[in-house]
Symmetry: none
Subunit: 219 residues, 4 copies
DNA sequence: CTCTAACCGAGACGGTACGTCAGGTCTTGAC
DNA sequence: GTCAAGACCTGACGTACCGTCTCGGTTAGAG
C-alpha cells in the first residue's frame, strides 16, 4: 500500500521520464507551513495544500504518505531542529546546555503547536509514529546519548538513574508540559533537572544566575 | 457553541419534557467501548456508534460534543481509573504504591490505546483538551498531591525537586513511554523514580522483591 | 394511520376530558400565516409553527395531518375565499362578475403564493390532494355551476362548450397563469373569456370599458 | 449559487483534467427513471439515485442542482416529448393534430405523474421553475405559435381569442385536468377546443367520429 | 371530591436525508 | 514519467425535521 520510493531517494540517473519538480516540492512545503499557521493542523488538508501551492493532489500523494509527513518534512526543512552538543567540560554543564537549547525550541508557539499535532497524529497512525520516532525523536535521544557517553568516559555520569531512564525523564517532562500542562519550559526546570540528573559532588553550576533560591542540597 | 448542560447535571425535578433515556446512554457507551476495541479509535465514528447502539446520531450529539468525549465518558464509567492513596507511613512507600497502581492501569493494552487516542485528540481539539485535563488528568495529579501533602506534614518530603516538578517528572515519564517509546511501565522504573524522588536517608525499600539485579553501577 | 376526528367535528357534549384549546388553534393558524409569509412554504416546518405559536408539536399533529392542511386551514379561516354569485340577469354578466371576483383573489401576491404551494403539495400527497379538491377547489366549481344552472333555466347557456368543459377552461386558464406564466389576471382576459363562453346574440357588454381594441366580435 | 457550467456544455477540447463520465451520467438518469417509477417522486432521494446508479452523491450535485433537475433531464433524454407540427392545410386541422399529439403524451400514467411532480417542484423552487419553463414548457408554446403563425399567414387565424390567450386556454385545460381533476384528455375535448379556437365557417372536421352530440355550431 | 379521560407545553427519542467536505484514485493532455 | 487539473467513488460529517413517545400538569365531565 505504501510504495513510496522514500522521499529521500536518490535521483537514479538512468531513469527515463520527467524528473521530480523541485519547485513543486518547495511550493508544497511552503504552502503547508503557511496553511498550518493560518488554519491549524486540524483544518489542514491535502486539497488545501495542493490549491495553495498550485500543484495537483497526486503530486503530494506521490511523494508523501500523509499530511503529517508533509508537515514533518516542512518542519525539518525549514526550522533548525538541530541541537548542538559542544563539550562544556562536565556532564552537568553539557546537560544544562542541552536542556537550554532544547527548551528554546519549544518557545516558538507555532513550532510547538506543530510538534503537538505531529505527536497526536503519531498516535492515530502507527506508520507515521514509526517515522516520527526515527526521523525526529530518536535524533534528540542520540544527542543526549552522546553527552552521556562523554560523561561516562569522563567518569562523572552518576550511576542512577540509568542513562535510558534519564532520557525518559528529560523528554518526558518536556513532552508532558508541551502536551498536557502547557507550562513554559523555563530556566528553573533546567536547574532542577540538572540538579537531579547530574548531582555533582562539587555540584553543577557554582554560581547560578537563576532566581531560584539556593537549593540546600537534595542528597 | 458548547451549550451542553453538562452530562452529569442533576435531573432537575420540575423540568417539562421527556427525560433523558438512561438506556440510550448506556447503549451508547457500551457500543463505543466495543467499537473502539474492534476497529480502533481512528475508525471509530459517530455513525458507527449510533448504528451499533440502536440510537440516533442526534442523541449522541445532544449529550456529547465529540466522539472523544463519548469515549472518555465510556472509559471513566467502565474502567476503574481510580488510584488509591492509602497512607503507607513514608513518602517513599506512598510513592511506590502510587506508581505501582498507576502503572498497573497502563498494563491493559486496550485502555492504553484509548488513553493515547484521547491524548491525541486533546491536541487537535482545545476544548476537549480542557475537559480531558480537568476530568481525568488533574485527578491523578491531585492524588499525588495528597501523598506529597502527607509527606510535607510528616517532614520527609525532600526540598528538591519541587512537588510540582516531581509530578511533572512522574507523569512525564509515564506518558512519554505510553506515547513515544511504548516501553512497558515496569517495576524497575518504579524503583528508579522512588530512589530519585524520595531518597530517604534510611532509603526506600530495604528488602526489594523486584527481580531487578542490584544495580552495581552502570557507569 | 390518519384517525383525525375531523377538525370540524362537533364538541360531542358527553365526552370527558379537557376540551380542545381554541387559543392554541388560533395561535397555530396565526403563526402559520406569519411564517409562510416570512420564510416561504418550502421553509415552513411543523417545528417552526410550534415554536412560533408557543404550542407543542403534538398539538399540531393531533389536529392536522400535514403542514399543508394547517396552511389551508389558515387560508380558509383568514382570507375570504368566498365568491359571491348574485344574479346579474344574463349568463354573460353573471360570468363576468364571477371572473372579476375570482381574479381579484389572485391579485394578492401572498395568497397566490400560498395557493401555488398548496397545489404543489397536492401533487405530492394524494390524500391532501383530495382534501384540497373537496374543501376548496370544488366550491369554486359549484359556484360556477350555479351560474350555469341559472343560465340554462334562463335559456342563454350556449350549447358549446359543455358546462364542464367551460369550467375546465375558466379554472384552467386561471391556474395556468398562476402556476406557469405568472401573468396577471387582468380585465382583458375577463372579456375574452366572456366573449368566448357567453357569446350572446345581443352580446354581453354593449359598451366596454376595457382598453382592448374593438374586436369585431368573433361570433 | 448555481455555477453549473450547463450540462449541455461542449467538451472544450483543450481543457485539462478528467472528462465527465458519460457512463455515470447515463447510470444516474436511468436510476432516476427506475426509482421514480418504483417509489414515486416524493420518495425519490439523491442518496437513492446515487446508490442505485453506483455513483457518488457529489457526482450528482456536481452536475444537477436538484433532484427535480435530474428527473427533468431523465424525462427529456428518454421520453420523446417532441410535438410534431406538420402543415395539415388549415388552422383547425393543425390544431387538432397538435392537441391529439399533446394529449397522447399525457396518456402514459408514469410520464404524467412525473410532469405533475415537476410542476409541483417548480412551485417550491423558483430557480427550477425558470428552468422548467424555458426547457420544457416554452417549447410547447413555441410549437403552438408556429401553427398560429401559419394560420395568420394563411388568413384563417380567428381574431379572437388572441393567440396568447388561445395558448393559455389550451395549456390551461391540459394542466388543469392533469393537476386537479385527473380527468383523461380525450377526443371530445379536442373537438371542443378546436370548435372554440378555430371556428371556421366551413370549419374543422366535417364528419366527426366523436360521440359528442351534434352541436349546432355556436358561432 | 375524587377519579379518569383527554388535552396541553415541552422536549428527548429513533430515523432519514440533506448538502458538504475531504480522502485517495483515476484520467487527460501537456511537458 | 511527472505535472496541473479536475472528475470520480467513498464515507463520514453535523444539521434539520420528521413523526412518535414520554413527562408533569391542566381541565372537565362522571361517579
Amino acid at each position: 500500500m505504501n510504495d513510496q520510493p522514500a522521499p529521500e531517494a536518490a535521483p537514479e540517473p538512468g531513469r527515463p521520464g520527467r524528473r521530480r519538480s523541485e519547485a513543486s516540492r518547495q511550493a508544497i512545503l511552503a504552502a503547508t507551513s503557511e496553511l498550518v499557521a493560518e488554519v491549524g493542523y486540524a483544518n489542514l488538508t491535502i486539497e488545501g495544500i495542493a490549491a495553495r501551492s498550485g500543484t495537483g493532489k497526486q503530486t503530494i500523494y506521490r511523494w508523501w504518505p500523509s499530511k503529517a509527513d508533509v508537515l514533518l518534512d516542512a518542519l525539518m526543512t525549514k526550522a533548525e531542529l538541530h541541537i548542538p552538543i559542544p563539550d562544556k567540560g562536565s556532564y552537568a554543564d553539557d546537560l544544562r546546555a542541552f536542556l537550554t537549547a532544547s527548551f528554546a525550541l519549544g518557545r516558538d508557539r507555532r513550532i510547538m503547536d506543530i510538534q503537538r499535532a505531529l505527536m497526536a497524529h503519531a498516535q492515530l497512525d502507527e506508520d507515521f509514529g514509526r517515522r516520527l520516532r526515527t526521523e525526529a525523536l530518536q535524533r534528540r535521544r542520540d544527542a543526549l546519548a552522546v553527552i552521556q557517553g562523554r560523561a561516562r568516559d569522563r567518569g562523572d555520569l552518576p550511576p542512577s538513574p540509568s542513562p535510558g531512564t534519564a532520557a525518559d525523564l528529560v523528554f518526558g517532562v518536556i513532552w508532558y508540559r508541551v502536551l498536557v500542562t502547557h507550562q513554559p519550559l523555563d530556566q528553573a526546570l533546567v536547574d532542577e533537572l540538572v540538579a537531579m540528573l547530574a548531582p555533582a559532588a562539587n555540584g553543577g553550576r557554582r554560581r547560578t544566575t537563576s532566581s531560584r533560591p539556593r537549593q540546600g542540597s537534595n542528597g
